[in-house]
């Protein structure tokens, strides 16, 4: 894999809500296998940016292109969220959105949907093909749960899990769609230092073992500085800086934007 190849290219992305400009000509690039952080004060437009890329919002202007490995590039504009996921881009949510009343394992199995195909007839007659697919699905999902360290919870209902475990389950669920690019929306929010430390290792593991490109929104500066290859900084819907963690830490614009509010890192 060539680390200079792009995985995600965003050019001039603009999003208006009524008269309000939430995103103003955003340019961003994530290369294959790279961890990129997107930081900025609350309300800067980071989650809106994610929602545009994943097809939940339709942006007013701009281009979004992904480059799945070994396939033709795909323009994401106007694609439905499930199609975006099918092309290999998966995400987690800031305010955990698990399927509460399903078990932990089922949460992951649901995400195998777009990589499997048995239909109604298969389900009703339990054909050998369906049974085989089902068994593979269970095995694959269990493997993912082991990877994120949730194997002991397989049969628990998702809403019964502790907070940190729910965040990790979101990651496992996103991984089940077999992405090449993973978007994490504040994965460390609400975690204690020990949990954050484990998360740090997990994200690095995903980068190394699964060769994933990762774009994450995060407020925990220690985590951002330790795992990111590059950092983008947003404020009031615009991109105000980008660079390596070292460059960002010294950038006067960034410091100013962050001093505007409480800097909790």
């Amino acid at each position: 894999m060539n680390k200079t190849q792009p995985a995600l290219e965003v050019k001039g992305l603009t999003m208006d809500f009524g008269g309000l400009r939430a995103l103003d000509h955003i340019d961003l690039e994530v290369r294959q296998g790279e961890i990129v952080a997107l930081i900025g004060p609350n309300g800067a437009g980071k989650t809106t940016f994610f929602n545009c890329i994943t097809g939940i919002y339709e942006p007013t202007k701009g281009d979004m292109i992904i480059h799945p490995r070994g396939k033709e590039p795909v323009r994401l504009n106007r694609l439905k969220p499930n199609i975006v996921t099918e092309h290999g881009l998966a995400r987690t949510f800031q305010n955990i959105r698990l399927f509460q009343k399903m078990t932990v394992l089922e949460n992951v199995m649901v995400a195998r949907h777009c990589r499997t195909k048995s239909g109604i007839a298969g389900a009703i007659f339990r054909t050998p093909k369906t049974r085989k697919e089902e068994a593979e699905m269970v095995e694959f999902s269990y493997g993912l749960l082991e990877k994120v360290g949730l194997a002991q919870y397989v049969n628990e209902l998702a809403h019964e899990l502790p907070y940190g475990a729910q965040r990790r389950l979101e990651i496992a669920r996103a991984m089940a769609t077999e992405p090449f690019l993973l978007l994490l929306d504040e994965p460390a929010a609400g975690m204690n230092p020990k949990e954050t430390n484990e998360l740090d290792k997990l994200i690095t593991k995903l980068q190394v073992e699964d060769k994933l490109a990762i774009l994450l929104i995060e407020h925990d500066m220690k985590l951002v500085m330790s795992i990111s290859n590059r950092i983008y900084v947003m404020d009031y819907g615009s991109m105000i800086a980008q660079g390596t963690p070292h460059e960002i830490a010294e950038n006067p614009n960034v410091i100013k934007a962050y001093l505007g509010e409480a800097f909790d890192a």
């Binding site: 939940i56 499930n82 399927f99 995400a111 499997t116 389900a123 269970v138 095995e139 397989v154």
Partner: protein, 416 residues
């Protein structure tokens, strides 16, 4: 000593005062409707003061229960306990082959001998109850699993019934030929109606389906050339039995066994669907639409399959209904029918198969056997829907999810 008792006495007084206030409020509220009865033609007025006393005493005591349940719900402890208790029993029955097997055999024998030990009338009632079991299970796919509130479910029931009635009337088509056709036609209607409306948000969907249901009934009522209007269609054939002539009683027994077979089939299909790729997609959709889409599930397609499958079941039961009563008219397909099926699903427990079966039996058999109660049936249904939603939204029976066992070294999952 006195100070020790003071808080308790204060608590009792305040509770009494609260209940007295509630009682007074409801006596005021129900006064014009429950006490006064106007006979406009005779120009007389009847005063029914006893009703006021009933309401007062009733609401006085009910308000204690209401507050007690409310506190328990807010505390949350006892509810959890009840659930784990239910879960344990459920798991035990599932895991212990002997219990489940002997239970199944006992139920099986009872089902088999039922029409021979009970009267034809009882069997008729049982057939009706089984029809509602099927309708409940069908609607359960749409409401319980996929979380789409369909208030026009009765429309598909009507489509099935009229499909058989008209085909039988015009072309003499037999029940067994018409049964799959009814199901297929209802499914087609489900897809046709579902396609434009399924992208609507939950509450709008409820209203649109309600509107569709009413439109179909009104068309059946007014389009005389097609549906014979309010007078309906009579003389529909009963199901044939290899060309043999059956007496009325034999027909009832025959239909009973057809229903048993179909219910077993329905349970099998629904339980298999529930723990399949499609079933999980439905539940995920119900739990969180946005997350579900973000996990690569096509929202429209998934909703449409649930809608069409639910409609298929309504169509099948509609066909049976026409064959059972041999006469149908639009009056059988009002919104109240949809509401009744919905309350079966809600009362039994959305998403739970056992719950829906139980709900159907309670709601259909109770009014039949407690004749005094039958007048109050819809009143009780309505009240039950509110109370269930407020105190036990999961219904009588909580749906249990499939469990898997893993052995660490092999990583092989086994469903049980």
């Amino acid at each position: 000593m006195a100070t020790q008792w003071k808080p308790l006495i204060e608590k009792i007084t305040s509770e009494l005062v609260k209940s007295l206030l509630v009682a007074a409020w409801f006596m005021f509220l129900t006064f014009p409707l429950m006490v006064i009865r106007v006979h406009p033609l005779e120009r007389t007025i009847e005063w029914r003061w006893m009703n006021m006393i009933y309401v007062g005493v009733g609401s006085f005591f009910l308000s204690f229960i209401w507050r007690y349940l409310m506190e328990r719900k807010d505390g949350g402890n006892s509810k959890e306990e009840g659930d784990t208790w239910q879960k344990r029993v459920g798991l035990r029955i599932r895991s212990d082959k002997r219990i489940s097997l002997s239970g199944l055999i006992a139920i099986g024998i009872f089902i088999f001998i039922f029409p021979f030990i009970f009267s034809s009338y009882q069997t008729q009632i049982m057939i009706t109850a089984l029809m509602y079991v099927m309708l409940g299970l069908g609607l359960n796919i749409v409401v319980g699993l996929a979380g789409l509130l369909d208030l026009g479910y009765v429309a598909f029931y009507a489509v099935g019934a009229y499909c058989y009635a008209l085909l039988n009337h015009h072309f003499g088509l037999s029940f067994w030929m018409a049964l799959p056709l009814s199901g297929a036609l209802a499914a087609t209607f489900g897809i046709l109606l579902g396609f434009p409306v399924l992208r609507l948000r939950g509450d709008y969907l409820a209203i649109v389906t309600l509107g569709f249901g009413e439109i179909i009934r009104l068309i059946l009522e007014n389009w005389n050339e097609f549906s014979f209007g309010p007078s309906g269609i009579a003389g529909i054939s009963r199901p044939g039995f290899f060309g043999m002539e059956l007496s009325l009683q034999e027909h009832t027994v025959y239909l009973y066994f057809i229903m048993i077979m179909l219910v077993v089939l329905t349970v099998l299909v629904v339980s298999r669907l529930r723990n399949s790729r499609i079933g999980r997609a439905w539940i995920a959709l119900r739990e969180d639409e946005v997350a579900c889409q973000a996990m690569g599930i096509d929202k429209t397609k998934t909703k449409l399959t649930a809608f069409a499958l639910g409609a298929t079941w309504a169509g099948l039961v509609g066909c049976i209904f026409a064959a059972k009563t041999t006469f149908i008219n639009p009056a059988s397909f009002t919104f109240m029918e949809s509401a009744m099926i919905l309350s079966i699903v809600v009362l039994g427990g959305m998403g739970s198969i056992v719950g829906v079966i139980l709900g159907a039996f309670v709601l259909i058999l109770l009014p039949e056997y407690l004749r005094a109660f039958s007048e109050y049936r819809m009143l009780a249904f309505g009240a039950a829907m509110v109370i269930i939603m407020v105190f036990r939204p999961q219904g009588i029976i909580t749906g249990i999810r499939q469990r898997y066992e893993f052995h660490r070294n092999t990583q092989k999952g086994k469903a049980r």
